[in-house]
């Protein structure tokens, strides 16, 4: 008896018809990726990066296509549109379940105007910019579920920041996940050309607060020489949703990036994020801010790969958990052979607000050269008793003092974000702390 791909749960038998209109090079890449996905084994639970999350959760399921709800009914979209109207955004992309898009770009001098379009449109109109970069960081060989994304991404956003362009205002990507049983697969490619500077707000949310959604998103950031990318990713999906997220940046000579990942939502969120410091004299600052409650489960992996001399990387990953929430964090610093004079720092701090909350922290160092300064540290524990005592000593009740300390814990990370985002996350954290 022969088995076909169709018979095996999670296998991807065919690519949907709707994806066949892509240019040949892209259609071929999808086919290869499908094969790679089907051919690769399900990751084994005992191995690296899959100890804390069941990989079977992320297998493809042949449900009906994701449902995009009407943009007009979604308050977050209305809000973002008014932010765009009052001139506080360089561009706005509303992405509804990777199905329908609304893109707006502010009027500016041509040299400071970014290209923002859907990725599939870009594949047709700007293959010069897309073909060489798409999948270069997170391709079919990256991992089973990244291959799945590479085969099935229904669409996403493409952004190109021209040479020397310095965007005064952020570009905001606002994406609602799908509702229902079907997975949504989104892919984003951002190319910052030489000497450019941009701030990106990449926000994921659930348009429908109750219905579970499943999303597999990939984001690739290309920082060409001397570019400076500020990237803020916020995941605030509803608590029924499942989220798989992979992000990589590459930095060429003297490029810089500051990335902040705020994970607030989802029932289960698995993320693999990182920077490949390919050029010389690059700088990568990575921050994480995780807030979990109820039975939320987070599994984050961060990566700094130093391939060029005189690089500087710093990572500060903070986690706050209450109720029975769980977080696993693994952070890798790799310094390749013959890479001299680099500095790499890493810190992971976990604040547990209740007895039932749990956090694991595993720092990993792979240093293959001599001249390097590298430190890492991890802490897991409750609110500092002495800090609590200090605040209570000034008359502040224990519950309020605890909230002040949690806010203080996250504040230095929030302070790095654009103002509008700071306010939003502060309100979110306050709301979650109400039931402490």
């Amino acid at each position: 008896m022969t088995t076909t791909d169709q018979d095996i749960p999670g296998q991807l038998a065919t690519l949907p018809d709707e994806l066949t209109s892509d240019p040949d090079w892209l259609a071929d890449s999808r086919k290869e990726s499908r094969k790679a996905y089907n051919a690769s084994d399900l990751p084994i639970r005992s191995v690296h990066l899959w100890r804390y999350t069941d990989p079977a959760l992320f297998l493809h399921s042949n449900g009906s296509a994701p449902v995009a709800e009407s943009n007009a009914d979604i308050p977050a979209y209305t809000e973002a549109l008014s932010k765009f109207s009052d001139g506080s955004l360089s561009a706005l992309a509303l992405d509804n379940a990777c199905r329908t898009f609304e893109i707006k770009i502010a009027q500016a001098a041509a040299k400071n105007t970014p290209v923002v379009m859907t990725l599939r449109q870009a594949a047709i109109e700007r293959p010069d910019l897309v073909q060489s970069h798409l999948g270069s960081l997170v391709g079919a060989q990256f991992g089973k579920f990244e291959a799945l994304n590479m085969a099935l991404w229904s669409d996403g956003i493409f952004i190109y920041i021209p040479k020397g362009a310095k965007l005064a205002e952020p570009i905001h990507l606002l994406r609602s996940g799908s509702s229902g049983e079907a997975w949504s697969y989104g892919r984003t490619l951002i190319v910052a050309d030489e000497d450019s500077e941009v701030t990106l707000i990449d926000e994921y949310f659930s348009a429908n607060a109750a219905i579970s959604g499943k999303s597999n998103n990939v984001v690739e950031l290309i920082g060409l020489s001397r570019s400076n990318i500020h990237y803020f990713a916020i995941q605030r999906n509803n608590l029924n949703s499942l989220s798989f997220y992979t992000q990589r940046s590459v930095l060429h000579d003297s490029a810089k990036t500051t990335t902040v990942f705020a994970t607030l939502g989802a029932k289960q969120h698995k993320a693999d994020v990182g920077t490949v410091m390919k050029g010389r004299r690059t700088e990568s600052l990575q921050y994480g801010l995780v807030f979990g409650s109820g039975k939320q489960q987070f599994d984050h992996h961060t990566v700094h790969i130093n391939q060029g001399a005189n690089g500087y990387s710093n990572l500060d990953f903070k986690v706050v958990l209450k109720d029975k929430a769980h977080s696993a964090y693994t952070g890798l610093i790799r310094v390749d052979k013959h890479v001299q004079n680099c500095e790499a720092y890493q810190s992971n701090r976990n604040l547990l607000l209740t007895r039932g909350a749990r956090a694991e922290s595993i720092p990993e160092l792979e240093i293959l050269c001599d001249e390097v300064i590298c430190t890492h540290g991890a802490t897991v524990g409750p609110i500092d008793e002495m800090q609590l005592f200090y605040l209570m000593n000034r008359g502040i009740p224990k519950n309020e003092a605890t909230k002040i300390l949690v806010r203080g814990f996250v504040e230095p990370t929030l302070a790095l974000m654009p103002d509008s985002l700071q306010g939003q996350i502060r309100r979110h954290v306050d709301q979650r702390l109400e039931t402490l």
Partner: protein, 257 residues
Amino acid sequence: MSNKSNKALLHLTDVSVTVENKQVVRGLSLTIKAGEIHALMGKNGSGKSSLSNALMGHPYYTISAGSAELMGQNVTELQADERSRAGLFLAFQYPQAIPGVTVANFMRSALIAHRGKEADMRGYRKELFAAMDELEIDRDFAGRYINDGFSGGEKKRLEILQLFLLQPTMAILDETDSGLDIDALKIVAAGINKFHTAKNGILLVTHYQRILDYVIPDYVHVMIDGNIVKTGGPEVALELEEGGYEVFQPAKTAVGA
């Protein structure tokens, strides 16, 4: 001074304090009335700070015997925050750093807790800045994180700033003078004198006579091995300065204050 006056702000009777099952204060008695400044002097390890911390409700220190009353109320029945709102204040020997929490937000929360209402922000700012100016604290400190990267002197001045704003009835100042240069000491002493009125009481815990040149105590107590061995006027501090604690050492039986 140990008579049970209605005006007693702090009334300690045979108080013992334990930390990690070790007794560090042994049956100490002390009464502080409104309008009085008491200096409590002793060497390191004599139990001064343990007493201060236990009175304030530090989680590691327990009042294991005796009674401690704050304006007639048994303090051991109160949580640390309740003690503060009841009018007790401790200026810490080693103030905590709290990164992420600004001085301004912290003080605002403390004032709201004390006054029981949302403080008028404009009025609050004025109040905060006035107190900062008085203590020669740069106004920029309002936006800095609590004691984060502060020098020793700056930390102590921040403690006095809190004393100013919260206006406690009974203030315990635990080695507020240590780590201060002479200029900072004068500013802090002036702040303490300005705070002091006929309605409040101060317990000044110190190693050295130095601060007593600027803040004149009504009573000086010498503490050795967990109890007060000598009580007198400011002259006791001068005796100490001259002869050291050795002069008071042999007294093994507790002298009631």
